[in-house]
């Protein structure tokens, strides 16, 4: 398979939100049986068909880099983590729908990754009070993923969904809400799958462009 270029996507989020399960589901099309702590970074590859169904269809790889750890880690861990943030084509921000703090922490996560700074304390985040301009000028596209969708009671669903809608607006990103233990959410043909392939195709477009230049 020639012309397989590199598309690197970071998967970021708080400890325990389900990044490893998500990556496993995306790459192996299987549910992760025994999730355990990610030490350092674990990579997995997904084979994606670019422009599926069209005559320009081409197969390429997406590398999903699942970086473990929490925001409160020691600065030595943070500076070591920064090694993984180089030459990134896209970022998937994962948050736990049952835990509000994990959604709030996503601002800091994106800052850490985008600025490759070991102390992202320039912007103090408190419920959306942050500088949107910083995000407007950044060229790395984001995808917002909310996990543990099944654990939200029916009554609270609308409230949670409005909250995530605000988040995705802030990030200027698409959002997907799912449950990593159920492959049904990403089955072919669902709107989630469509969003996902659109996101990955866009990444490839951008990576191709930068290479050609």
């Amino acid at each position: 398979m020639a012309s397989l270029d590199r598309v690197k996507v970071l998967v970021l989020g708080d400890s325990g939100v389900g990044k490893s399960s998500l990556v496993h589901l995306l790459c192996q099309n299987q549910v992760l049986g025994n999730p355990s702590w990610t030490v350092g970074c674990s990579v997995d590859v997904r084979v994606q068909d670019y422009k599926e169904g069209t005559p320009e269809e081409k197969t390429y790889y997406i590398e999903l880099w699942d970086v473990g750890g929490s925001l409160g880690s020691a600065s030595s861990i943070k500076s070591t983590r920064a090694v993984f943030y180089n030459s990134v084509n896209g970022i998937m921000l994962v948050h736990d729908l049952t835990n509000k703090k994990s959604s709030q922490n996503l601002y800091r996560w994106s800052l850490e990754a985008l600025s490759k700074d070991s102390s992202p304390t320039r912007v103090i985040v408190s419920n959306g009070d942050y500088d949107r301009e910083q995000f407007a000028e950044n060229s790395v596209p984001l995808l917002l993923i909310g996990t543990k969708f099944d654990q939200i009671a029916e009554t609270k669903r609308t409230e949670v969904l409005t909250r995530t809608a605000f988040l995705s607006e802030d990030f200027n990103a698409e959002e997907i809400n799912l449950d990593c233990t159920n492959p049904r959410y990403l089955a072919a043909g669902t709107s989630n799958a469509v969003k996902l392939s659109r996101f990955f195709d866009k990444r490839r477009d951008i990576s191709q462009e930068t290479r050609v230049r």
Partner: protein, 425 residues
């Protein structure tokens, strides 16, 4: 009249402590998590409040602040409440949350939690047998029994942590132990880490592609039936799956390597930061303190040995030294708790912390008795009954010594291993 005033003072201080404990919980312990069950926060704050009140009462005792009747009353009250919390409430909730984390036992949570609690009570009671705490004058469920057991556990914990802290503190602060780390070392290690990640990626690509081809060929195979089809499918998939398992093994080994490299890089970064820190004024100050403190700790270990060897009950109080060391060490302890806590177990961790804290405080009161001049001892002895205080001091010395020696051994081994790994790179 004065009793009422005193009670109001005590009550307000308790409320203050409660609020402080609540804030501490919110800001420090649960910084990154969402509090889902408020009962944990309440229990933690209550334990904290009553523990602090006990210390406050001792201070009042020494200062002669409130009238002695009300002091006596509050002592008793406080002691009963804290014992109730430490023995009944907290262990039950710990059992409950541990059980609710295990998926299998979800159904009968309450039942299992009660079972856990009964097991705890059984062991708690058995604890009394080998120790000389029981005196035949008192009945079974008297306060002396409970306190003596709680005291034993608390003293053991305190001694363990003091021993470890006594050794760990100078080790951390003194720059003598810091290895020399240059920037190029770190860069080289980072490069190796990235190279390993790239290798993992390329191997995983091969696996994914092979699997995809097999899958596609498998679909074609399904159309072919008969002998030819079977033979063809066997031979092709055979080599395919053999290759796959080989590559998968390589990938597993590489992933393990990448984890190791990551951890080593983190350690090097941490060492580099410590070296930089030691060059600042603050660093130099702490370095000096470290030397001082290490001499102090060595002296304490020496004294503990002498006490045991010569069968002497320490005249100097173990509590103040215990408190000094553990107060310095408490900061490091909380880091440990952060490291091992996660979303699921955070409740359990906090409750365990509350339990340890409560037992600490009760045993500190026990040990403090020795250090107080005679006139103040009376009230403590009155309230706590005829416990064998000398026993506790001896026990503290023993555990302290054991803990200090084992942590010296442990740190020595860890220190030795690290430079060896450096050489191997």
């Amino acid at each position: 009249m004065s009793f009422l005033v005193d009670s109001i003072i005590m009550f307000t201080s308790q409320v203050l402590f409660f609020g402080f404990g609540w804030l501490f919980f919110m800001r420090q312990l649960f910084k990154d998590y969402e509090v889902r069950q408020y009962i944990v926060q309440v229990v933690f704050s209550i334990t904290f409040a009553f523990s602090c009140t006990m210390f406050e009462l001792i201070i009042f005792e020494i200062l002669g602040a409130l009238s002695s009747n009300s002091r006596y009353f509050h002592w008793k009250l406080n002691l009963y409440v804290i014992l109730l919390v430490l023995i009944f409430v907290v262990p039950f909730y710990i059992g409950y949350f541990v059980v609710s984390n295990i998926r299998l036992l979800q159904r009968q949570k309450l039942l299992f939690a009660c079972m856990v609690w009964f097991t705890f009570m059984y062991f708690f009671w058995k604890l009394g047998d080998p120790f000389p705490i029981l005196s035949p004058k008192h009945g079974i469920l008297s306060i002396e029994q409970l306190i003596s057991r709680v005291g034993v556990i608390g003293v053991t914990l305190m001694a363990l942590l003091s021993g470890f802290g006594a050794v760990n503190c100078p080790y951390t602060y003194m720059s003598y132990f810091l290895r020399n780390v240059t920037d190029s070392d770190i860069l080289a290690l980072e490069r190796r880490l990235l190279q390993t990640m790239d290798m993992i990626v390329s191997k995983k690509k091969r696996i994914a592609m092979t699997r995809r081809q097999m899958y596609q060929r498998g679909e074609d195979q399904n159309k072919q039936t008969g002998l030819w089809g079977m033979i063809k499918s066997v031979t092709s998939t055979q080599t395919g799956s053999e290759n796959l398992s080989l590559i998968q093994q390589e990938v597993d080994a590489l992933e393990e390597l990448s984890r190791q490299l990551f951890l080593e890089t983190v350690e090097l970064q941490a060492t580099k930061e410590r070296i930089e820190y030691s060059k600042t004024f603050q660093g130099k100050y702490f370095n000096f303190l470290g030397y001082f403190f290490s001499i102090y700790c060595v002296w304490k270990i020496f004294m503990a040995t002498i006490n045991i060897v010569f069968d002497r009950v320490g005249k100097t109080d173990p509590v103040t030294r215990g408190i000094e060391i553990t107060v310095n060490y408490l900061g490091i302890q909380f880091d440990f708790f952060y490291a091992i806590s996660s979303n699921k177990s955070s409740n359990v961790i906090v409750l365990v912390l509350a339990q340890i804290m409560g037992m600490y405080f009760v045993s500190s009161v026990l040990l403090m008795r020795m250090s107080m001049p005679l006139e103040y001892r009376s009230i403590v002895t009155e309230v706590l009954g005829e416990l064998q205080f000398n026993f506790y001091h001896r026990w503290f010395d023993v555990i302290f010594l054991v803990s200090a020696l084992s942590s010296i051994l442990f740190l020595y081994l860890a220190h030795k291993q690290a430079p060896e790994k450096q050489m191997a790179l």
